[in-house]
């Protein structure tokens, strides 16, 4: 079986063809770089995504500060991670790179601030 994917690893958006024999990958074609191969492998076995959102700030210049996952997380956990992000607030001052939630839901990814406030 062949599966068509569009790589989201970078904005180039390569069209990748993955050939499968049952659950095992026979070949991956169309990717311009090794990241595309890894994306295609993950997409078949364990699709992952970055999540970006905002967290409420107490006493900051702005009411919210942007955050992101420090690495990608399983795609099927996006909404669980969003719930965790929406549950917390943080006191100003917030510094870019500051860990807001360490190892969110055991994914190994931290929720980190991506701006100062």
């Amino acid at each position: 079986m062949e599966k068509q994917l569009t790589c989201v690893a970078c904005p180039r958006g390569c069209s990748i063809t993955v050939t499968l024999d049952g659950d095992s990958i026979v070949s991956i074609e169309g990717n311009a770089c090794p990241r595309g191969k890894k994306y295609a492998e993950n997409e078949i076995t364990d699709p992952r995504r970055m999540v970006a959102s905002t967290v409420k700030v107490n006493g900051g210049k702005l009411p919210v500060v942007p955050v992101k996952t420090s690495s990608d997380i399983p795609k099927n956990m996006i909404f669980d991670v969003m719930r965790e992000i929406n549950r917390v607030s943080v006191d100003a001052p917030v510094e870019i790179g500051q860990v807001i939630i360490p190892d969110v839901l055991g994914t190994g990814a931290d929720i980190i601030a991506t701006n100062n406030d």
Partner: protein, 420 residues
């Protein structure tokens, strides 16, 4: 206060373009630089673009918009570049006097040797579309919604229809979904999306949000607040087909229907614009038709990626430095021509006496699968590069190597075309 100050270089706009241009000019030895920003912080639109995917080309890292901006803000902070925030430029004169105003200093007239225009772009609003119906609250551009959610911290709606599949619309479809809104659909007038393919995958497909191509919004309903819209399929002439009209209940209509370079200052200075890009006509150093005035970033041409904005702005910064040093006299220009499939080319003209590598950036008018991008000089093929796909939503480039310029005359014709 009405003061007059002199600078070697005044950069208008403190977003990614203005910061990169000012930093590059400083690195090239320009000493007396003013960087003017109308918002209270540097960073421009990146401050509200909290999603990741910035910097993959330039830094090799997946950054959010504020993180990408922060890298340049920190670099600017380390220099002696004079930054004016909360300061609005109201006029750029042909004599390179930049008039600007802020609460603290009042009206200022800055005399510059060179000026870099980096004002960015803005979104096409509802008024540009002529959608019939009422005028309720709940109709807004995707970028406005993005500011509400990401900077102001509140949700502008619960049931959303998005018209236009530009990247900001796609990004906001995901953002609203993550925050619990129901995004019913993204309608796109054209038979293809104007956004990046990766955004269709990770913003729509991931969340099962339908993308309805060749479909538009024909009517808005609601008294105080939007209560719904009528959508219709369109024919080949992009005219709505009455039999296909369908009502969709929603409380919010977001528009992502194109970006327009913000060129009021450019036009005010008497600088000619390109009819297609709606940005200034520039040479390979991004110098406009007015010597010593440069333009870069989204005010010059709307980019897909900030990484390319940064690189283009560094070209302008270096160009301005060379202009100030008096190195840009007596150019001999040729104008690259658009062949089949190509809508525009930036830069619009090239100084053949400069004899350096020149990258031409262009967009195509339709989707072509497995095409070749062909660069020709006087009927001779200089390069022919195979592509998997080219699309209007993704900017392409082709390189003219420095060696070519040795054999060029002002009568030479350079053409970029798509071969299918």
């Amino acid at each position: 206060m009405n003061e007059r100050m002199t600078y070697d270089l005044v950069v208008v706009g403190g977003g990614p373009a203005g910061m990169a241009a000012a930093l590059k000019a400083r690195e090239c030895g320009v000493e007396n630089i003013a960087l003017i920003e109308r918002a209270s912080e540097l960073g421009g639109i990146l401050e509200q673009c909290i999603h990741t995917g910035f910097g993959l080309t330039y830094f090799g890292q997946e950054l959010s918009g504020p993180e990408y901006a922060d890298r340049f803000i920190k670099l600017v902070d380390k220099t002696d570049i004079r930054v004016f925030t909360d300061t609005m430029v109201t006029d750029v004169s042909p004599e390179k006097v930049v008039t600007c105003v802020n609460k603290k200093d009042g009206l200022m007239k800055l005399q510059a040797k060179a000026v870099i225009l980096a004002m960015g772009c803005r979104e096409r609003p509802r008024g540009a579309l002529n959608i019939v119906g009422t005028r309720p609250a709940g109709v807004m551009t995707a970028g406005t919604a993005q500011k509400y959610v990401n900077l102001d911290g509140y949700m502008p709606g619960k049931k959303v229809v998005i018209l236009g599949s530009g990247d900001i619309g796609l990004i906001m479809a995901r953002r609203m979904t993550l925050e619990g809104a129901e995004v019913k659909m993204v309608c796109e007038l054209m038979p293809f999306s104007g956004g990046l393919t990766r955004n269709i995958v990770q913003c729509l497909n991931d969340f099962d949000i339908p993308l309805k191509l060749s479909t538009t919004v024909v009517k808005v309903y609601g008294d105080q607040r939007v209560t719904g819209v009528d959508i219709a399929r369109v024919d080949e002439k992009l005219q709505p087909i009455p039999e296909t009209i369908e009502h969709v209940e929603c409380d919010t209509l977001m528009l992502s229907v194109g970006l327009i370079p913000e060129n009021e200052l450019t036009v005010g200075a008497g600088i000619p614009l390109d009819r297609v890009t709606r940005g200034a006509v520039v040479d390979e150093l991004r110098q406009t038709e007015m010597p010593g005035v440069f333009a870069c970033g989204n005010v010059l041409q709307v980019h897909d990626l900030v990484d390319f904005v940064t690189m283009e702005s560094q070209i302008a910064g270096e160009g301005a430095a060379r202009y100030i040093r008096g190195e840009l006299s007596d150019p001999e220009y040729i104008r690259p021509e658009t062949g089949f499939g190509v809508r525009y080319i930036v830069p619009q003209k090239i100084n053949i006496k400069d004899k350096k590598d020149v990258k031409l950036y262009f967009r195509v008018g339709a989707i072509y699968n497995n095409p070749r991008v062909v660069l020709e000089c006087d009927g001779q093929v200089l390069s022919s590069k195979k592509k998997i796909k080219v699309a209007p939503g993704e900017m392409e480039d082709v390189l003219i190597p420095a060696s070519v310029f040795d054999s060029l005359t002002p009568e030479s014709r350079i053409t970029v075309r798509v071969e299918v």
